[in-house]
Amino acid sequence: MYIVPSVITLGRPGIKNNGIWLNAATNRSWIGWFAFIFLVSFYILLYFRPDYIINWTYIVDPISESLSGNLASQWFLYGLLYCIVMSVMAVRMYIKYRHNKYQILRTTSVLFFQIVFAFLIPELLVRFEKPWYDFKNAFPLDYDFFYSWSLDELIANGGLGLFILIWGIVLTLVIVPVMVYFFGKRWYCSWVCGCGGLAETLGDPYRQLSDKSLKAWKLERWLVHGVLVFALIMTGFTLYTYFSGVDGLLGIRTQTIQDIYGFLIGSVFAGVIGTGFYPIFGSRVWCRFGCPLAAYLGIVQRFKSRFRITTNGGQCISCGNCSTYCEQGIDVRAYAQKGENIVRSSCVGCGICSAVCPRGVLKLENGPENGRINPTEILLGNDVNLMNLVNHENKN
C-alpha cells in the first residue's frame, strides 16, 4: 500500500530530483538510525540469540513443513523473510525504474535466483533427504564448502553429492572467471548474487549513502583483498587438516581459524554489518569492503575482461547523479567528464549510474580488450609532478 501508489505520486517515469537528501529516512537522520538499530538487532538475535526468537519461527513452521518437511529453523525464517523483503522492494524497483528495461530485467533476475536457487531448491533438496545447497553460492563466498563436515556430507550423498562437489569447484575455478571475462563482475554481483539482490532492492533507497571519499577507497582495497587472503588461508588449513588428519599447523588449530572466520566475517561482517549498515553506510558495505568473491571477481574484471562502462564525455553536464547513486562509492562523474572507460574492480555493474544519467552518457558494454583502459593524465592533479610528466612525455 505504501509502495504501489508511488506509480502516481512519483510522477512520470524517469529519475528526478526527489529530495532524497532531505528525507529523514534516507539521509542518515533519525528514521535511518531507527532502521539501523532495528536491522542490527534483528541480525544479532538471528545469529547469536536464536533462542529468543522462537515465536517468530513458529509462525513460519507450516511453510517450512510444506517445503522441507522440517520445523522452521532460524535460517529458514531468515531465508523466507529475505525472499519476502526482496519481492516487496522489487515492486518498488519496478515502479521507480519502469523507464529502464535493463533495471527491470536485472531486478527480475536477482529476485528469481534468490527465490528459486537460494530458497526453494535447497529446501526441496532437504525434503528428498539430500544436503541443503544453494547452487549459485560460489566459494569463497560459500566459505564452508570445503569444511570437513561439508565434504563428508557431499561424498556420502551419492551421485548428487558428488555433482554438487564438482559443480562447486567448477563454478569457482572455471565458470566465474570465464563469465567475468565476457560480462564483467555484473553477471554475478548484480544479476545472481543473493546479497547483491537484497542490496539492490532493500538497499536501493540507501545507495547515495556509500562513502565516496578517497579514504574509503583505500580502506576498501586493503580490506576486501585481506578478507580474500584470510578465506584462502583458512581453506588451506581446512583442506590440510582434512587430508592429513593433523588438526593444525604451525601451532594454529584449524578449528580456531574456522571459528574466527565464521564469527568475524561470516556472522558479523556479512550479516550484522552487511545488511544492518544499509541505512547509514549504503547498500553494498559487505560487497565493497568484505566479500572475498567480490575481490576475486574484481581482480579478473580489472585485468582480464571485456566489460567496461563507456562514457560519452561530450554529453556530460557534470550533474553528479552518477557519482551520487553509485553504491560502490566510485566517482563516476570524474571518468565521464574525461571520457574515460570505467573498469574499476569494485564496479558491480548495477547500471544505476547509467539509469540516473539525464544525458545518456554512460553505457555498460562488453567489447574488445584492446584499448579498454584509456586513462587521461590530469595535468594539474594533486599527486602529479608537472615537470616529470612534461619531460616524460617529451621523451616519447
Binding site: M1, Y2, I3, V4, P5, S6, V7, I8, T9, L45, F48, R49, P50, D51, Y52, I53, I54, N55, W56, T57, Y58, I59, V60, D61, P62, I63, L71, S73, Q74, I84
Partner: protein, 148 residues
C-alpha cells in the same frame, strides 16, 4: 493518493511492532519427554548437566524465552567448566549454547503464537495484501483515464 500511502505505511509499522512484540511472549516448559529426546539425540554423557537440568529446569514453567535461555545456558557453562577442569572432554557439550537452547525451546514453547501459527502468518505478512491488489487496480484505472 498520498493518504493511501500513509495508511499503508501505518499498517506496515503496526504489523512490524506486533511482530517484534512476539519475542516477549510465550511460555516454556521442559517435560521429561522433551528432555529425554534432546539428551538421546545429542548423545549427552554428562550426568552433571542432566542433574542440573533436572533440578533447575525440568517441569518448571518459564514465562519468557530470556529466563528459560539463561537457566539452561548457565547450567551448560557450569558443567562444561567443571568437565574441562577434569579434562573429561567427551562429557563437555561442544554445541553453541544458544543453538542448543534453541532446539529445546522450540519443542518446549507454548502460548498463543504457537497455537495460532496460521493466523499469525496471515496477519503479520499478508493482511495488507488484498489492499495492495485493490489499490493497484485503482491506480491502473486512474493512470489509464488520466492519459486520455
Amino acid at each position: 493518493m498520498k493518504s493511501i500511502q500513509n495508511i499503508g505505511l501505518a499498517l506496515f509499522l503496526v504489523g512490524l511492532m506486533i511482530f517484534t512484540s512476539f519475542i516477549f511472549f510465550g511460555k516454556y516448559e521442559v517435560t521429561p519427554h522433551i528432555l529425554d529426546e534432546t539428551l538421546t539425540s545429542k548423545g549427552i554423557k554428562s550426568e552433571l548437566f542432566i542433574n542440573n537440568l533436572n533440578t533447575n529446569v525440568l517441569g518448571k514453567e518459564f514465562s519468557n524465552s530470556f529466563s528459560f535461555s539463561s537457566a539452561i545456558t548457565k547450567s551448560l557453562e557450569q558443567t562444561n567448566e567443571a568437565h574441562k577442569l577434569n579434562s573429561e572432554w567427551d562429557k563437555v557439550i561442544w554445541d553453541k549454547p544458544h543453538s542448543f537452547v534453541y532446539e529445546i525451546a522450540k519443542k518446549s514453547g507454548s502460548g498463543f503464537v504457537k497455537e495460532n501459527k496460521g493466523l499469525f502468518w496471515w496477519l503479520t505478512f499478508w493482511a495488507w495484501n488484498p489492499w495492495c491488489a485493490y489499490v493497484y487496480s485503482t491506480i491502473c484505472d486512474y493512470f489509464r483515464s488520466s492519459r486520455n
